[in-house]
Symmetry: C2
Subunit: 395 residues, 2 copies
Amino acid sequence: MAPASAAKADTSETASYLAGDIEPFYGVRQGGILTPVQRHSYFAAFDLETAKRDDVITMLRSWTAACAALTRGEPAPSPAGYATEDSADTLGLGPSRLTVTFGFGAGLFVKDGKDRYGLGAAQPEALIDLPRFPGDQLIEARSGGDLSVQACADDPQIAFHAIRRLAALGWGTARLRWAQTGYLPDTKPGETPRNLLGFKDGTSNPGGEAALAEFVFVGDDGPAWMRGGSYVVARRILVALEHWDRLPANIQEQTVGRHRASGAPLGKTNEFDAVDLAATDRDGNPAVPLNSHVRLANAGSNDGARILRRPYSYNDGVGYTAERWPPWRQSVEYDAGLFFVCYQRDPREGFMKIFSKLAKFDRLNQFTTHTGGGLFACPGGAAPGEYIGEKLFDT
Amino acid sequence: MAPASAAKADTSETASYLAGDIEPFYGVRQGGILTPVQRHSYFAAFDLETAKRDDVITMLRSWTAACAALTRGEPAPSPAGYATEDSADTLGLGPSRLTVTFGFGAGLFVKDGKDRYGLGAAQPEALIDLPRFPGDQLIEARSGGDLSVQACADDPQIAFHAIRRLAALGWGTARLRWAQTGYLPDTKPGETPRNLLGFKDGTSNPGGEAALAEFVFVGDDGPAWMRGGSYVVARRILVALEHWDRLPANIQEQTVGRHRASGAPLGKTNEFDAVDLAATDRDGNPAVPLNSHVRLANAGSNDGARILRRPYSYNDGVGYTAERWPPWRQSVEYDAGLFFVCYQRDPREGFMKIFSKLAKFDRLNQFTTHTGGGLFACPGGAAPGEYIGEKLFDT
């Protein structure tokens, strides 16, 4: 009933948090891409239900203001006339390194053949419709969307809170389409987290400004509003953990192409040793098997293509799906696996190139099923006073 | 392929963890009941698919040995002839205060009229079939089970790992029926965590040995194998957060019966102030409304009945369920809420008594739907050398 005084009460604790708990919201690039990975993620896709361009702008303005506050550990401001103040589920928790990363789906530009907001001409060529890859089992209700919003934080309640607040602010303009939680284990600082397969995940990401400019962020080649932006591909990947857990470690390692304990490529010693595609074992066979995940995903197998991976594990309990191979039991299996998130300068040169090969040949495919996801254009970050994506609407 | 050497490698880091990260597995009472609440939970229910009593015993033996190791941060031993060593997803993470709490459902004793394992005569009277309460929408596939296993840890990967390992060890004997993840925010030590409603949850739990003996743990009144044990009721409670978030704080407070920020009962100042059912406001109305959650759940409204609550929040993304009230939008809503877990000496005197009243009158019911859960008899803890539930099988 009294947003102003509630805001005051809620912010009084902010000062006691370390600056390291706050990730900047404003900047040339959006947070949540290069940000050291947080422990929890809530990825939400929205469909726009308004016909008015101004409604979208108003919502993006309110979302920007909300995120600027939430990332500082402050309550999101309520719009004029809104009945209630911020919810209290995160009272006293602090910013928890919250980042919120926004993306625009193809539906923002043209949907069902209709240019709803006068943005059709601004759709980047790189914002394609991803083809159906071999093995894809994408569930419509878990895929696509006009907008993507990923909240990442070290506390799951903080991440979910941000989306709850944005969804409330977007009432009547945007409607939640799908959402996916994700988490990472509490790995020691500087170590690469392990996924549910038991392997370190995210070892060979591009780093350094030259590689980031080449592989991750849009430069002068893209539309002006995408400068400093990136394209995100999300995929919800069910992993048949029951089967995986029954494999001896050496079979798992042949499948992935890395040593399980160290994370080193097969035949190497250290996690960050380069994958040597030419190396052979004593018998003259490739040290990294031809159909192993790491070999097929490697830049050397894909004309140099690279992507920035930022994956989370997901765990939605159990599902009731088909069996993989006999002998197997009835229809219950873990609904858990990998919520794969990757960033790239151009999805045609990144995810599409790499995954086209993986979808066909990766030995890991017998344990994985892609059940949802999407492709979104994440604009460059907003400067203070600007709303997220403002340059798109100003073109 | 070499469990022994893998075990050796995996345990080498154990010593570097603080003793405080290890919760004891063996003891008069099972862990995970009085244990200071961990940040993550994975609750699994299993159905037994063997006809042989010895298979159940063999599995419980292997589960006991596995939990004794896992709670120390060591890999679970593999049974003879099992093809693979422990999975590697928790390598380097430490024990993370893991507890594993076992419960026996009515189906272990008699199922479909059949006493499968010769235990029918040992079924405690307190292990009843819970009635259908007003408003219950329990989904069969999310309810019941012959056995319950709840893993709690400060790391979600550690909790899930324990269940994956137990499920693998139980292969052919027990089959996963349903599972539910849960989490709590990273609340400051000593503070009561807030649930997704934004209210502190778990404030007025029984404490002290006298109250624990009266309300939580079975004494001489139960069968000998239940001494030191307790009955757990789990309920998966969907909360209509979209509606809740639109309420002004004072309406939320009238619904719950507590102040949102402090957690104090309405009309009081401090979280741990007793709920005063006789207190009135200036107009002579009850300070704690007649249909508020806290009033109806209070011991004073239920012939002194009390339970030990150990709730987690859950977040399974979105669901596609019916609307609550107009005006409301299409069919997507958060599939999130409360995974309510409570312990009591006798469910007929605990959950049943309290929830019979809540289910009828609680104003909070318009925001909640119970969609799954179960009742299980958690035996007393195992002594070293004993397997969990051994006293039941020895009777």
